[in-house]
């Protein structure tokens, strides 16, 4: 094992998959010479050359369309969209084209595309560079949505995403890019569609994703001092959602809090809450509570009031413990 940063874990995954498979190529704005806006693709141009590391114009629709067309012919593109907010610039290609191509043409095509995009707030990047849009894509049949919280998961999930035969929206959190964690020296994969219990507990389940996993773990540490043992589930993959891991945990704890950084309204917390209520109301001892951002754009200057945090999660847990 060795310690590495989240951003380096991403870069390692790209390096390894490009070395392994000639069909893998990287495409996006500034991915080549500059090595990516956040340096996720640093060194790839030197290692694999201009043929496989493609700098593009600022043309998000063309980047995604290119990836779709190339993937339909059997290549395995990894497209970088510089900020997750910019995914909205190419929504037709993502939603009407990429997500529906296989179904619409009766299974004629397989689209192994990965679209990497950094989302999330915390860097004072303002309302157009800070959003968490996972629920938008999770709502679209045909897409998989992945959102790693740790360097270990980032690397293993990205490698699995590249090898997956479906379009994957791979949402990195840019405030986590500098975070450190242990990863093995040898090759490993983290399967898509499998959540990870990051902390075992018996009293309450906290389901979280991306940066909120760390907030949930902090909250759990705090709650433990008061004798409340929270089980923290890191979704890792938003869709396909690992329902089993959530159900198993809630069966044990009978209480559930869902935390995500995106605005609370109509978010993945609403889906998970509804799913658990529909499927296992008898097991619940308390209403399912959601922790998320308020229904406002991400402000440049007031992020600390905007971002949900460990305190909010702990408060929600204490509320469900009152029942």
């Amino acid at each position: 094992m060795r310690e590495t940063r989240y951003i380096r874990a991403i870069a390692e995954a790209l390096h390894e998959e490009m070395a392994r498979d000639e069909d893998v190529f990287v495409v996006g704005e500034d991915v080549g010479g500059p090595g990516g806006a956040f340096s996720a693709t640093k060194g790839l141009m030197e290692a694999y050359g201009e043929r496989r590391v493609r700098d593009t114009p600022i043309s998000e629709s063309a980047i995604i369309g290119l990836a779709i067309g190339a993937a339909a012919e059997g290549l395995r593109p990894v497209a970088e969209v510089m900020f997750a907010d910019f995914l909205t610039v190419c929504m037709d290609q993502l939603v009407n084209q990429m997500a529906k191509t296989r179904y619409m043409f009766g299974g004629m095509y397989t689209l192994p595309v990965v679209v990497r995009a950094p989302g999330g707030a915390g860097l004072n990047a303002g309302p157009q560079h800070s959003q968490s849009l996972e629920a938008w894509f999770a709502h679209v049949p045909g897409l998989k949505v992945v959102s790693p919280a740790t360097p270990y998961d980032a690397k293993g999930l990205l490698k699995s995403s590249i090898r997956d035969d479906n379009p994957v929206i791979f949402l990195e959190h840019k405030a986590l890019y500098g975070s450190k964690g242990e990863i093995p020296d040898e090759e490993y994969l983290v399967p898509l569609g499998k959540a990870d219990v990051k902390r075992i507990g018996k009293d309450v389940t906290v389901v979280a994703a991306s940066r909120m996993v760390h907030e949930a773990l902090d909250a759990a540490k705090d709650l433990s001092k008061d004798g409340i043992e929270a089980e923290v589930i890191d979704l890792r993959t938003i869709t396909p959602l690992d329902r089993e891991t959530i159900f198993t945990s809630v069966e044990k704890t009978s209480r559930l809090v869902v935390a995500h950084e995106a605005v609370k309204a109509f978010g993945i917390g609403a889906e998970i809450s509804a799913m658990v209520t529909e499927e296992m109301l008898d097991h619940l001892d308390a209403p399912v509570l959601r922790v998320g951002a308020p229904f406002v754009p991400v402000p440049f200057n007031l992020e600390r009031y905007y971002l949900p945090n460990a305190r909010d999660i702990a408060a929600a847990v204490r509320r469900v413990m009152e029942y």
Partner: protein, 318 residues
């Protein structure tokens, strides 16, 4: 120079496309096909002229008004018809219908319901050919309306920049749905835009199949030889409405009648007759043969079952 065999092939493709689309109008009006369909009657010279110079391995991206483009590329008529009927034996198991028809065997990558949506994907298809050093060309059909979508700009810029083996074929019928070209753009010739991307742009009379063929051949040749993409604008006429059943209140009766004078099939038949390539008897025989093909396709489609309910859940993911 197009030899006699190829001349006859062009005629066959044009007449086949026309008769198939007339048949589609007919059966749609009888309520035999669900949804809605878009036909390109009057525009046959573009599909035939362009697709006739492509090889099997070359790939076309077609539009919502793309029956002609798919048929001219050689898509199997039986399975084409079954797809339009929404039946199991259609190319896409009936899930695509008229608007999304595709066949990999025939090199028909798929038609797109989003105006301009296919352009960047066609660029990706051409990129794959270049990446793997494959000897093939991608043709992307789109309409005049699509040339005002952002994807047109993004795709042509990127294709020119990377010298990709692609031909952008603008089938300009003068109408963006219900709006005529003069209302939505200042330029008359869309091909003029090519220069701004650093590629060759050509405008041809899209109702003259030999002119279309000649310029398409040159464009395909350039693509094959690594000389990059071409914007080929074929100016043609849409005889009917945007969709079948469109009352066309936005057009005058005179204009609707006027456009029929440009009939690319009558024009080409006249040329072939005058140059003694064909006689009346040949033309009658051609019609009879196509009629039989269509009848067979209709029977094939109507006898094909609708996919079972379980099919709803297949092919969402690989």
């Amino acid at each position: 120079m197009v030899n006699k065999e190829e001349l006859l092939r062009l005629l066959y493709l044009m007449v086949k496309v026309r008769r198939v689309e007339e048949c589609l109008v007919d059966i749609f009006s009888q309520g035999k096909i669900p949804g809605f369909i878009h036909v390109g009657i009057g525009q046959e010279a573009v599909s035939a002229g362009v697709c006739s110079c492509l090889r099997e391995r070359d790939v076309v991206f077609t539009t919502h008004r793309g029956h002609g483009q798919a048929l001219a590329k050689g898509i199997d008529l039986n399975r084409f018809m079954a797809e339009i009927y929404g039946r199991r034996d259609g190319f896409c198991k009936g899930k695509a219908g008229s608007m999304h028809i595709a066949s990999r065997e025939a090199g028909v990558a798929g038609s797109n319901g989003i105006v301009g949506g296919g352009l960047p994907i066609a660029v990706g298809n051409a990129f794959a050919a270049q990446y793997r050093n494959e000897d093939r060309v991608t043709v992307c059909f789109f309409g005049d309306g699509a040339s005002n979508e952002g994807t047109f700009h993004e795709s042509l810029n990127l294709a020119a920049l990377w010298n990709l083996p692609v031909v952008f074929c603008c089938e300009n019928n003068g109408w963006a749905q219900f709006t005529p070209q003069k209302v939505y753009m200042k330029l008359q010739n869309i091909s003029k835009r090519a220069e701004s991307y650093g590629m060759i742009g050509v405008t041809v009379d899209g109702d003259d199949v030999l002119m279309v063929r000649e310029e398409a051949e040159k464009a395909v040749e350039r693509a094959i030889r690594g000389m990059g993409p071409t914007l080929l604008e074929c100016k043609t006429h849409r005889w009917l409405g945007h969709y079948v059943g469109d009352p066309q209140k936005y057009r005058t009766t005179e204009e609707v009648e006027e456009v029929r004078k440009f009939d690319p099939i009558i024009r080409f038949q006249k040329y072939l007759l005058e140059n003694k390539h064909v006689d009346r008897q040949y033309l009658d025989g051609l019609e009879a043969g196509i009629k039989m093909e269509i009848e067979e396709a209709l029977a094939f489609a109507e006898n094909s079952p609708i996919a079972p309910a379980e099919e709803l859940f297949t092919d969402v993911y690989a």
